[in-house]
């Protein structure tokens, strides 16, 4: 194809050519083109199909408001659906395909839908497809779903990377048209930190699309000069290709910068950056969007917005056609005729709905006053238009202008409602703007160039003065107040053909009237019932005309009829950009234990525990499955000694004169009298009396404690303690600091634990059972002077210690412990063996402390002191929480020892039907006990502590199993605790 529609001028680099393809057809364009301008230059008028009726559609606008020209850009995993051809910067090798058609674009098999349109009016689907019931999911819905949607995802992982960032400024200027440039310039010259962002790749806004002069220069040249000045200032950050998409609380804005979308290859850099901009003040200079007029068959390729036609001609050196008729209700439309005529394009007529003289004198122009377009001809491209008086005019392009809507979107992202201005026939920003925002230029209803420049300057001046800057004096550039009157004229009532409002969702004037007839009269009902404004363009060109027609139906004014709420984002934002780097294995950070490297070198399999990676087991050669490894680790630990990295438990350093009394308040059991050198198990309750967390706390000295928490709750417990310290008992001298990562802590468990540790702990520390009994603790040194902490505590039920050294020595410590344990056949064990041993011992863990169980349920009701002030003890005594028939934590073993108990099974009495009314409780944790040679479980069952020896059914319909289990003590191993005291 050749560029048949190129005309003179424009800001494209004609010296260079760019090759691209559309639907496989090779075409050429120039740097500075968008895909849309290049398609038009190549004479490609049909570019897509509409959502519902599959009507042929062409390019309608020249910006991000485009409803029609959505393409799939690129291919393979890079395929990007629903991309507006009007915003895609042309690059060499670009490939795009049209979407939403079956068969070729020109001969869409789904186009038959259009013939059925009388039966597919707004909301038709609410009234049918109900019989027979099963057919909805099996037949109707799949057909509807397949024909709905627009573009296609590749179904492959997004291959590009994305980044995020944070920017701060005194003044954020949104939009780099005439008012935005003046605002930025004014603020920047005064020394304020300024960010100027614009969605376009060329800054200048409409200045680039118009022939209006500023300071006797071409507008585009003036813009370039200002941009150059701003670019040279170090207090200014220019952000082209950046859409400020949302106004959030307290001056925070979301912005998307497209970094590599205009390149064939991202070159390993992030494709886009999602910025969070913290501004002290903002000027919204987002310009305005032209709206169409509704008339019969106004959706044909070739029917375009007049301002867009002008933009293609002036900025891109392209005319959309050879015979460009204009249909307008305002002065601005005339400039399209003037600009194109000046470039030699034939203008068959300017049809003005007003009965008024031409606002611009165009030699030889055919001006048809007080008239309107009623219908068009040309299925795949406009051929002619028919006026209300019946005359037919040949034209391949119709430039339509229904007036301009200020882009008020961001002013409404919080609580603002726009206000109607009769003189403009448009909504302008209301009084209730987001904090710190002011609006300038066309976005504020200043629709002429001179007004926009002046308002940009004045608004920025006021904004920075409020921040304490003294504006430097700058002359307002000279420009004209071009004619800009308009008429409220929304649709051509004489048209009997369908007249489109929402081009993408195929909502017509008739649909709005039907919506009225059926009672969907509030604006939100209109939107939801007809889908007006819900397409990818969010009704940027459709909403106001739709509203106007509803107002006609109801006999109310437009502002009485209402306006829909604009919500972020201003234009759609890729999910990848919103997620930034947080995907794949970078979704969340990894926390590694100090002995991670040792574990890796020694065959560990790792498991995610919150953000931690922990060794789950250490497989040895010859072992057939994880159970072999875990059974061995348990047996070797129980027979001799095992070592486990338990660093992940939360550790909180508690110091202060009131530390003991503080702990006494946050634990349910007593801590005030814990002797120095001792450890105590502590149970924390929530204020509502439910068990929250447990752990051990050691008293190192009078005013110094070390608390441990569960791995899962470390952060939450710390937060609660700070709450207690600052908000509940603010005059206690107590100080908290987390040391979780600071100490590498290892459990050394098993009958040989003491013998092993004697080899590591330095001489002079008496390790004997008498000197260092169960629940003793102390600061010791190991390996020749290394400061360490030693706790005689046991989670496994064995003679056990936990020894802690500074974390940077942790990997080495693991190695040392294993070397020292060699003679005892010491084994490293992972979280699985740890879990098996704690179940054998009957210790509650996460599955039991799940936020739904009380101390009463856990069999620890008596630990909850009622003789002191502590969190949770009062509400823990509510009658429903201490019922006699409450569930109690007990052990379970299969009656048939070869049966496997399953966590999540529910208990049902032997003779009862398995249903919810007969539910007795549930199994929380299970394990195969190598020590007992069968499967065991812990669980909650009603009155469990009174039912020892009773047999109940553990039902598991989910997995189709049911076994009989016997209620037993939760302490399967060493119930008297002789081993851990040995």
């Amino acid at each position: 194809m050749t560029q048949t529609n190129r005309i003179s001028g424009g800001q494209i680099d004609r010296a260079r050519s760019i090759s691209f393809t559309f639907n496989g057809k090779r075409m050429t364009g120039h740097p500075g083109d968008t895909l849309a301008s290049a398609l038009l230059a190549n004479g490609q008028r049909l570019v897509g199909r509409s959502f519902k009726y599959h009507r042929p559609r062409g390019i309608f606008t020249a910006g991000s408001e485009e409803p029609n020209a959505l393409v799939q850009l690129r291919s393979g995993a890079h395929q990007e659906p629903n991309t507006r051809a009007t915003t895609v910067e042309l690059f060499d090798g670009l490939s795009a395909t049209s979407q939403n058609h079956r068969g070729p674009l020109e001969f869409d098999l789904m186009a038959a839908t259009d013939l059925l349109s009388p039966f597919l009016s707004a909301g038709f689907y609410y009234k049918t497809f109900m019989w027979p019931r099963a057919f909805w999911e099996k037949l109707y819905e799949p057909v509807i779903r397949a024909s709905a949607g627009l573009g296609r995802l590749s179904m492959q992982d997004d291959p590009d990377s994305y980044d995020k960032g944070f920017l701060h400024c005194d003044l954020l200027v949104i939009g780099a048209g005439p008012s935005g440039l003046m605002a930025a310039l004014t603020a920047a010259r005064s020394g304020a930190r300024v960010i100027l962002a614009d969605e376009d790749f060329a800054l200048g806004g409409r200045l680039n699309a118009e022939t209006l002069a500023v300071d006797d220069m071409a507008g585009a040249d003036w813009a370039a000069q200002v941009v150059a000045e701003l670019a040279a200032m170090d207090n200014v950050r220019l952000m082209p290709r950046t859409t400020v998409y949302g106004a959030y609380d307290h001056g925070t804005y979301g912005a998307l910068e497209r970094c590599t979308d205009h390149l064939a290859d991202a070159g390993g850099k992030p494709r886009q950056v999602l910025w969070r901009i913290y501004s002290k003040r903002a000027v919204l200079a987002a310009g305005s969007t032209e709206r169409p007029i509704a008339f019969g068959n106004n959706d044909r390729p070739g029917v375009m917005l007049a301002g867009a036609v002008r933009a293609y001609a002036n900025r891109f050196g392209t005319t959309p056609g050879q015979q460009v008729a204009v249909f307008t209700n305002n002065d601005d439309g005339w400039r399209t005729a003037a600009d194109l005529a000046a470039k030699g394009v034939s203008i068959p007529a300017v049809i003005d709905s007003r009965d008024a003289p031409a606002p611009i004198d165009i030699p030889g122009i055919r001006h048809i006053r007080n008239a309107a377009v009623m219908d068009t001809v040309g299925r795949k491209g406009l051929k002619s238009i028919t006026l209300t008086d019946g005359q037919v005019i040949e034209a391949d392009t119709l430039a339509v202008s229904g007036g301009w809507n200020p882009n008020v979107h961001l002013t409404c992202h919080q609580r603002g409602r726009p206000e109607w201005r009769d003189d403009l026939n448009a909504f302008v920003p209301g009084a209730n703007l987001p904090v710190g925002m002011a609006v300038a230029g066309a976005a504020n209803g200043a629709l002429t160039l001179a007004a926009a420049l002046a308002e940009g300057q004045a608004t920025a001046t006021a904004q920075i003065e409020a921040l304490g800057f003294t504006p430097t004096k700058t002359d307002t550039p000279r420009a004209e107040d071009e004619p800009s009157t308009s008429q409220a004229f929304w649709h051509v009532g004489e048209s009997r053909k369908r007249a489109w409002l929402d081009l993408q969702n195929d909502v017509t004037v008739k649909d709005v009237k039907l919506s009225y007839r059926e009672g969907f009269r509030s604006v939100e009902h209109l939107k939801r019932y007809t889908t007006l404004g819900m397409a990818t363009d969010q009704g940027k060109t459709a909403n106001i005309p739709g509203l106007a027609i509803m107002a006609e139906c109801t006999g109310k004014t437009i502002p009485e009829t209402g306006t829909t709420i604009f919500r972020p984002p201003y234009t759609p934002i890729p999910m990848g950009a919103l997620a930034g780097r947080s995907r794949g294995t970078d979704f969340r950070p990894y926390r590694l234990t100090p002995s991670h490297n040792w574990a890796k070198e020694n065959g560990a399999t790792f498991v995610e525990v919150g953000n931690w990676l922990r060794a789950q087991w250490f497989a040895r050669s010859g072992e057939k499955g994880w159970r072999d490894s875990v059974d061995r680790e348990v047996e070797m630990t129980r027979n001799s000694v095992g070592i486990c990295d338990v660093t992940t438990l939360g550790k909180i350093d508690v110091q202060g004169r009131d530390a003991a009394e503080f702990l006494n308040k946050v634990y349910a059991n007593g801590f005030a009298k814990l002797p120095v050198g001792k450890v105590r198990y502590g149970l924390m309750l929530r204020e509502d009396g439910i068990a929250y967390d447990d752990g051990t706390t050691a008293r190192l000295s009078d005013n110094h404690f070390v608390m441990t928490t569960t791995t899962a709750n470390a952060v939450l417990v710390f937060r609660r303690l700070e709450f207690a310290r600052q908000c509940l008992w603010p005059n206690m001298d107590v100080h908290l600091i987390s040391t979780t990562d600071g100490w590498a802590q290892f459990a050394v468990a098993g009958p040989n634990a003491r013998n092993l540790l004697r080899k590591v702990v330095d001489d002079g520390h008496d390790m004997s059972n008498e000197a260092f009994p169960f629940m003793a603790c102390g600061e010791v040194t190991v390996c020749g002077g290394m400061p360490a902490r030693l706790f005689r505590i046991s989670f496994s039920g064995e003679l056990a210690y936990e020894v802690a050294v500074p974390a940077r020595y942790g990997n080495s410590m693991m190695d040392v412990l294993m070397q020292a344990g060699k003679e005892f056949n010491a084994v490293p064990y992972g979280t699985e063996a740890l879990g098996v041993m704690r179940i054998e011992k009957g210790h509650a863990a996460g599955n039991e402390l799940n936020g739904q169980t009380s101390a009463h349920n856990l069999g620890m009701g008596r630990m909850v002191s009622q003789k002191k002030e502590c969190i949770g003890n009062v509400l823990s005594q509510r009658p429903e929480m201490i019922r006699d028939d409450a569930v109690k934590l007990v052990g379970f073993r299969p009656v048939n020892r070869s049966d496997k108990v399953v966590a999540g099974s529910h208990f049902i009495n032997r003779d009862d039907t398995a249903n919810m009314d007969n539910d007795q409780g549930w199994m929380t944790s299970v394990a195969y006990s190598p020590s007992l040679g069968h499967s065991i479980g812990l669980g909650f069952i009603k009155r469990g502590d009174e039912r020892m020896g009773e047999v109940v059914r553990a039902v598991n319909p989910l997995q189709g199993s049911e076994i009989e289990v016997e209620i037993v003590s939760a302490h399967f191993i060493d119930p008297e605790g002789e081993r851990l005291r040995a």
Binding site: T252, E687, F723, C727, L875
Partner: protein
């Protein structure tokens, strides 16, 4: 949102954890005769106004201070921020 920390200046609210009604400072007397009723009201019946709300925020990704923030729940406008410890003391909390 931005919370203007009394010691550290404006910080993104994302650094904070929200708890709720600042009345959670006013923990009842555990030995009161109607302690159960008081604790019920304390734990379950919080202020939930459509308008200015005194509420507790915790600067978890910061200095670990608890703050009492006065914020309008209909506009999110913040009019006052104080260290919760100071507020607690002024409300008579002690040890």
């Amino acid at each position: 949102m931005i919370i203007n920390h009394p010691l550290l200046g404006p910080r993104d609210a994302a650094e904070f954890i929200y708890l709720g009604d600042a009345a959670l400072i006013d923990r009842p007397d555990w030995q009161a005769e109607d302690a159960m009723q008081q604790f019920h009201d304390y734990a379950y019946l919080r202020d939930n106004p459509a308008g200015p709300h005194q509420e507790l925020w915790y600067h978890e990704q910061g200095d670990r201070s608890w703050l009492v923030v006065t914020r309008d729940t209909t506009t999110h406008d913040i009019t006052d921020v104080q260290l919760a410890r100071d507020v607690a003391r002024s409300r008579g909390r002690d040890k």
